[in-house]
């Protein structure tokens, strides 16, 4: 079954009316789905329950939603992620928004699919700290979940495995997509949908400021990894970024280009959550990075674009037009027993 995402009709008609050069900014009608985990209402509903269920963490105090909450821009508004107890994770919680369209997951892109991603934070000691060898038997003792897994994945026969758990959570995450923002209406042809200042900001975004070199297409991300010069000198530990997954020189200190959809809702910014405002984040990227020199493997896109404060403000005004209304979502308060 192919699940059509909300607003399909509006999007289809908008694609018809958008001019050729603006079409690339419009969301594809369907989110890509793996052949062995097509989205169904039963799978999405099950995944949603699991996503919000705190019993999936070691001390039952946090769920996936704790760090990726719909009311907090699908992140947590904290510099770095919260873990069970009083601990903190090493990186800023990335938004779940539009991750179904990404070819690589996590800041360092260490896995490709949402199914591969879904179990990582559950087991990570700096996040939910729940070993699957403990969680899977625990879930199998909850009759309500067994019934829902059997309904969503008949081949499971109600026996919950880590594979089915990952598939269910991934199915829900694929429904977390951006809604129609003022910029989308602008891209569809309504030139009054955003202010004059924002329109000028969009022009700067595409040309003089070169933001589009990395923040491209409907999700405002090239899906690539860049070192934007937040640190200088030899990097260590978490700051090595994708290089930690394999020591390819091209991966030294690089992190995934985040989406800019709803970016007004996901402060603080960057992989380390070190920047509080969009103005500062824009300024860092467009001025050649926080550190101009002595940055090994800095992206060739990160150079000083000589923008004035007025121009930075116009780009920020444009970025604010990427915020759409909340997606329709009923957050569960009762969970299977």
């Amino acid at each position: 079954m192919i699940v059509k995402l909300g607003l399909t009709t509006l999007l289809l008609s908008s694609i018809l009316y958008a001019t050729a050069d603006m079409k690339k900014w419009l969301r594809p009608v369907e989110v890509p789905q793996p052949k062995d985990n097509k989205m169904t209402p039963a799978r999405i509903e099950l995944g949603k329950l699991l996503y919000f269920d705190k019993r999936l963490s070691a001390d039952e105090t946090i769920s996936c939603a704790t760090c990726h909450h719909p009311k907090r821009g699908w992140t947590d508004l904290e510099p770095v992620a919260k873990s069970v107890g009083v601990g903190r994770g090493p990186r800023n919680s990335p938004t779940v928004l539009n991750t179904g369209y990404q070819n690589r997951q996590f800041w360092d892109g260490r896995v490709r699919t949402l199914e591969q991603q879904a179990l990582g934070p559950i087991e990570a000691d700096v996040e939910m700290n729940m070993p699957l060898i403990v969680l899977i038997p625990k879930l199998n003792k909850i009759q309500g979940y067994k019934k829902l897994f059997k309904k969503a994945y008949p081949s499971s026969n109600g026996s919950i495995t880590k594979e089915y758990l990952a598939k269910a959570i991934a199915s829900f995450e694929r429904t977390v997509v951006s809604t129609i923002a003022p910029f989308d209406k602008f891209a569809m042809g309504n030139k009054k949908a955003i202010s004059e200042e924002a329109t000028e900001g969009f022009e700067l975004f595409q040309n003089k400021a070169h933001c589009m070199d990395c923040h491209d297409k409907f999700n405002f991300s090239d899906g690539s990894f860049h070192n934007i010069g937040l640190n200088d000198g030899e990097l260590t530990g978490k700051e090595l970024g994708r290089y930690l997954t394999k020591d390819r020189p091209a991966w030294y200190g690089v992190f995934k280009t985040p989406t800019l959809r709803d970016v007004t809702r996901s402060a603080p910014y960057f992989h380390d959550g070190s920047v509080k405002t969009l103005t500062e984040a824009t300024s860092i990227c467009a001025s050649g990075g926080r550190y101009k020199n002595n940055v090994k493997n800095k992206s060739t896109y990160i150079v000083d674009r000589n923008l004035s404060n007025d121009e930075i403000n116009k780009i920020v005004a444009f970025l604010k037009t990427l915020e759409g209304p909340d997606m329709e979502l009923k957050i569960p308060t009762k969970f299977p027993q």
Binding site: R104, G109, G223, S224, F225, R248, P249, A250, T300
Partner: protein, 104 residues
Amino acid sequence: MKKIVTTLVIVTILAVNISAKNWIIDQKGKTFIPSALIVHVGDTITFKNSDPFAHNAYTDAEANEFDVGMQATGKETHMTINGKESFSIECAIHPNMLLEVTVQ
């Protein structure tokens, strides 16, 4: 009999080498062109870079592990298909670039 078998083996090896083909893949517009290949063991792939920026084709496939490193504009690199294992090649810098290689 031994002579015949030896001759057959030599002929087979020669035939494989003679039929080995070189495939050209261009990297242009952050895309591998073409984006899929059907090859045989012994074939080679030449990677061109027509983009105005660097690429870095690689695969972690066990039988055909390969990493060209940073490939600047206009440069060419080569790989040989060593194992009968289909795999994907990705750009380390632009992961949306994918080349599916089917080894027959």
